[in-house]
Amino acid sequence: MSAPTLEALGLTHTFAAGTPSEQLALQDVDLIMEPRSWVVVLGANGSGKSTLLNAIAGSLIPDRGTVRVSGRDVTHWHEWRRSALIGRVFQSPATGSIGHLTVAENLAVAAKRGRHRAVLRNPLSRAGRRELADRVRELGLGLEDRLDTPVGALSGGQRQALTLLMATLVRPELLLLDEHTAALDPRSTEQVVQLTEQIIRKEGFTTLMVTHSMHQAVTLGDRVILMHRGRIVESISGARKRQLRVEELLASFDRLRNADLVDESAAEMLRRLYI
């Protein structure tokens, strides 16, 4: 029995601790992902879903908790070092690739994720370029003819598709997608979602995907977790996930919102009683 791909245990983090704007972003969150599983994280703004992803990727070191990837304790690893195991696509198309480098150069950089980068080797020799062109052709976006175009000149959808390829060019143990279609127009969103599904299903990548699209949460992945106020409040998998409908998720969200209202009215009542 191999170790789970991801074991995030007891993750707790407070932003701006000790100040009036203190915000508890993660409260004792546990998340365990088996190899080849695909978990979709859903939650309102500020529910802690991006913080969870950042804590796993290492862009944020949580106050408490441990992160293990494929059995390795990476809690104290730098973000760049963790990236040898983790592939990432960000929300903004500008974040995940290097705008002033060409498509070929970006791919060449990505092809060495977690590997030795040689001092003398030119990765864009004729053979190297041909290999990269073959990989980029699989995306079906015609980028193989634009290898020498700066990535900054691509459309948002093309750039996210390229970033997805870059994140998976070296097989990642874990793939993190942080609302990677949120900044795209509907047509590009559809394209990128299709591509995402195709790549993940074909290669069997273990994937943790944050989204605020209920439609994506229903149609993609094999487990949905709902986050609210820094906690995982619901986890839907198996047959229930397969039959999940958007209405059911909406109902869950309404329940959470009502619970908040109850909390607030209770607090208001207490204030009136005691002040």
């Binding site: 973000e79 990236s83 990432r88 974040t95 290097i98 950089v109």
Partner: protein
Amino acid sequence: MNLLVGALSIGFLLSLLTLGVFITYRVMGRLDLTTDGSFGLGAAVAAALLAHGVNPILATVAAAAAGWLAGATTGLIYVLLGVDTLLAGILVTTALYTIQLYIMGGGNLSLGALQTLPGAAERLWFALHLPESITLGDTSVRAGLFSSLLVFVAWVLFSIWVLARFLRTELGLALRAAGGNAQASRALAIDTGLMVTLGLLLANGLVALAGALFAQYQGFANVSMGIGQIVSGLACLVLGEGLLGRATLRRQILGTLFGTITFRLLVALALVAGLPADALKLSTAVFVLAALVIPGVIARGRRRLGPAAGRP
């Protein structure tokens, strides 16, 4: 004509300084004030070693290595101590002033009678029985000027070639990536702190090399010769970008060479036309400010005038 050949020599050797500024300012996206310090350091190290009778090639290489150390120091202060590179550069440059005084044993070191690179080149020139002077137009140019121009051209073209090759290797690409987008680079498993240090190291090596060659060209090293070099490097950089654009790496690298040569020719012309030498640094600073600001002002003006403006 002597002035022209001289300006060409200075243009070639100072293009290494511009190349250093290009690496930090454009490739790494950081203004590195270590530049001023390492230029003077390169000059001081080369001069002191030459004064001890060290072979000029060895002394020049040692000067570049001293520049690497200076750049790496700035980088490590940033990475290990978390001090911003701008402040780290100022600190290192300030410290280097004292170090230069120690190295040279004073504020000034003359290379008059010493064996230098241009001197060696001149001796080689005569050993090959080449003519003592060459007539260009209606003036004759001393052979020494030509031989030193050739030796600078050789050093500089070799350095540019090595750097251009390096920036296309796997490590070189990682360096450019880290300078262009640190977040994406970390997500692609690039140690961005290490890359910043490497960039500063390379850049300051080139700058120190320029300082070493410049001291040998003018025949002395001075503790204050690094002051303002970053501004003159920036001037040459933006001039080169104006001439060749920023479309490709090749254009950018060649731009540093052409920009520096053009700038030095302009300086020579200005001096001939009667610009007092004391006014040079002020003029250069004004030029850099104008070159950096004016394109933005023009673009804003066009936007304000509406989409039709700027079309024929």
